[in-house]
Symmetry: C2
Subunit: 79 residues, 2 copies
């Protein structure tokens, strides 16, 4: 069964590139990928933070954070 | 046709985890993934550097670097 993967981003150029190249490149037979724009869904920042996300873009797979390059710090999205 | 993706690492715990979770999670129908251990293949450090890799683990897809979390700086592997 496909496991859940969440890609958190904030619409930045680094984020969009990572989304195209990496998040959408995951094997659909292994993963069910959800894309979450934290700038638009601020209510989910806490959830990303709880999973260990420090910056975006980041993928959370099986509850573990994988930061991909650096777009923006999570703390800057809280403002 | 599958495009080439190269996953550079140095055998560190962060690298091994990223390899399992991310490099091997790419869609095999989209990507032909090569795993390169730069500690064992120092001759390929220059190639990684030329692609913009600053640290490992990192994936290079279509010539662009995607650093995943942080295991070790490329400069530390040159020693």
């Amino acid at each position: 069964m496909a496991q859940k993967a969440v890609f958190y981003h904030a619409g930045c150029p680094v984020c969009v590139d990572a989304e195209t190249r990496l998040a959408l490149a995951l094997d659909p037979r292994q993963f069910d990928v959800e894309i979450v724009h934290l700038g638009e869904k601020r209510g989910r920042i806490a959830e990303a933070e709880a999973a260990g996300v420090k910056s975006v873009p980041a993928l959370v797979i099986a509850g573990k954070p994988y930061h991909v390059n650096f777009g923006a710090a999570l703390s800057d999205l809280k403002g």
